[in-house]
């Protein structure tokens, strides 16, 4: 099968948008000559030149702030976090400048920027390189947050993010870059605010995003064998949530599990469960359950690392428990 690897799908999206709109540019560490730490911008430097694919010094807060200034004056920058965790240094720029500036300025300026890069728990990268910043940035007003999970949605979402006039935080997962898939032909985009109904089912709703989508799929094949028909929704948009799709599913299944890779405290699921409780309480037949990573720095040791994040069997067990099917 020919297919396209996820990192190449992202690359295609950026390439196509850069070809179409000369205001689109990329900036970050090693995005140019080196082609990006995960090769998402490979060869674009040669194609578009050193200003449109700008290799920056290691100065996250300043080059992210620079992207804001460039966006305010007419460009459409894509900022790469070599690892999303490094953008903790740019928290101020992402929060105060990207998220709040349009409002604070009374609508004077728009900030069409995409901030993208690899995150998540990888293969023993240690605590600092295994972060899930989507949770930390979740409270920032004025930014959209999306997480891709397949080559197809990676490309479609990236194109939509680049075309959007708002700042978009775009989360990729270190372990998904080599997923392979045949992409739809031609110019397509995926809506930034729409969840993906991955699998229809009637017994229980599983809400997830990013890499956990694939853990959920594994769990669902097992559940199928055990006679449980689960519905799987990939949130895609972490801010705002597509509550319409979520509520519709809960109305049908009356049960919900949230599977996430971020830590439990102050996580994506924490907010989601609040909204579900507020909006879908009457449709629920059992308390909604969160399966999240442990509230600890990700340990280096492989066994401990595996224990930190949710594994497919835990999803299976939880679903059975909720449905009283015995474990």
């Amino acid at each position: 099968m020919a297919g396209t690897l996820l990192f190449n799908a992202l690359r295609e999206a950026i390439d196509e948008e850069m070809a179409k709109d000369s205001r689109v540019c990329v900036m970050g560490e090693d995005v140019g000559q080196y082609g990006g730490s995960y090769k998402v911008t490979k060869d674009l430097y040669e194609k578009y030149g050193e200003l449109r694919v700008l290799d920056t010094p290691i100065a996250e807060n300043s080059f992210t702030g620079m992207a804001v200034g460039a966006a305010m004056t007419g460009l459409r920058p894509i900022v790469e976090g070599m690892n999303m965790g490094f953008l903790l240094l740019a928290f101020n720029q992402i929060s105060n400048n990207m998220g709040m500036l349009r409002y604070t300025s009374g609508g004077n300026f728009t900030i069409p920027t995409v901030v993208r890069g690899p995150g998540g728990v990888g293969r023993q990268l240690g605590a600092e390189h295994s972060q899930r910043l989507e949770a930390y940035f979740h409270a920032v007003p004025g930014i959209k947050i999306v997480a891709c999970s397949t080559p197809t949605n990676a490309k479609g979402l990236m194109k939509a993010a680049i075309r959007d006039d708002n700042p978009v935080l775009f989360f990729e997962h270190v372990l998904l870059y080599n997923l392979n898939e045949e992409l739809p032909k031609g110019d397509y985009i995926c809506a930034l605010d729409q969840a993906d109904l991955v699998r229809k089912g009637k017994d229980i709703t599983i809400l997830t995003y990013s890499r956990m989508r694939h853990h959920c799929l594994k769990a669902i094949s097992q559940l199928e064998i055990d006679g449980i028909d689960a519905e799987l929704i990939d949130l895609i948009s972490l801010k705002p949530f597509d509550m319409e799709t979520i509520a519709k599913s809960i109305k049908k299944t009356h049960r919900v599990i949230i599977v996430e890779e971020c830590m439990k405290t102050g996580g994506i699921g924490a907010e989601l469960i609040s909204l579900i409780t507020e909006q879908c309480f009457d449709d629920l037949d059992s308390p909604p359950v969160r399966l999240s990573s442990q509230d600890i720095p990700t340990p280096y040791n492989g066994k401990l690392e595996n224990l930190t994040i949710i594994q497919p069997h835990q999803i299976v067990d939880t679903a059975k428990k909720i449905l009283n099917k015995g474990i």
Partner: protein, 364 residues
Amino acid sequence: MSQGIAKASNQSTTGALDAGPHAERLSNLLSAKRANCNREIGLDLFRDMTLGRRFEDKCAEMYYRGKMFGFVHLYNGQEAVSTGVIGAMKKKHDWFCSTYRDHVHALSAGVPAREVMSELFGKETGCSKGRGGSMHLFSKEHHLLGGYAFIGEGIPVALGAAFTSRYKKDALNDKSSDSVTAAFFGDGTCNNGQFFECLNMAQLWKLPIIFVVENNKWAIGMAHDRATSDPEIWRKAQAFGMKGEEVDGMDVLAVRGATERALQRARSGEGPTLLECLTYRFRGHSLADPDELREEKEKEFWSKRDPLKKLEKDLIESSLATKEELKAIEKEIDAEVIDSVEFALSAPDPNPEELNKYIWAEKD
């Protein structure tokens, strides 16, 4: 020793020793070439500086009368910097980036006094629609990139505007793209990483930007020489291979002259300049500051060098204007400031139904 010689030859040293190291630096400053001035330029500068001064005095009054709220940082004493720099640049073409001490930069950039005053009153007619306040003045129309309340965060934003200028010229082949960005910030801010990071990038990519340091010796209650290893900020440019210049920030023509040189470099593709303006704020850090740390001698030294009085004296002595003409301008400005207050008082508050407006870009 060379410092001693410069001091001895400078008439204005009187009192400098007692007034502290910042005053001493100003006294020892070898004057760089000042800008040429004719009647038209001189009166423009005088008008802008007077507006800055009178506007801020009115703000203090309105703050104490309970018409404006929050932290309000006034610019009195530093007018020669805003007017000297922005007055030498092209309005609605070049870009300006400020801090929380931004009222006067906004005025110099051409934002109408009515819009600035209404913003301070929190009104819908404010330049940020009453959503920003004193520390967040913005005007896309007047190329004001904003007032930024966090130390140093405006510098990267300004760098981005300078990057766009170069990008348009060299990546989009728009040879007419020659806008320059002025980033204003204080002495205390020069100890922050963003300052150094941006000096590096600006010089590396030869971006058209002027880093304007308004060294007023104080960062709230932290004296400059207690906060930094080398108080001569302009020298820090050298480490990046950048042109640095120190200038008498109480002399608008000196600031203008230095700005003209920096603009020349920026527009011809030679890149950035670090311009350190030695100045002083005549009031506390903000209107909430009891101002207990600054010595009387120091304040006296600087108030004798009031930049407005200096320009007035220059204009009269060089026969570019008469005292009466300047008085007439002051009267006009007072009327403009009063008009801005009346306008702001009678302007509507933002519509509560529009509380959530401006979070997201509108689809057009």
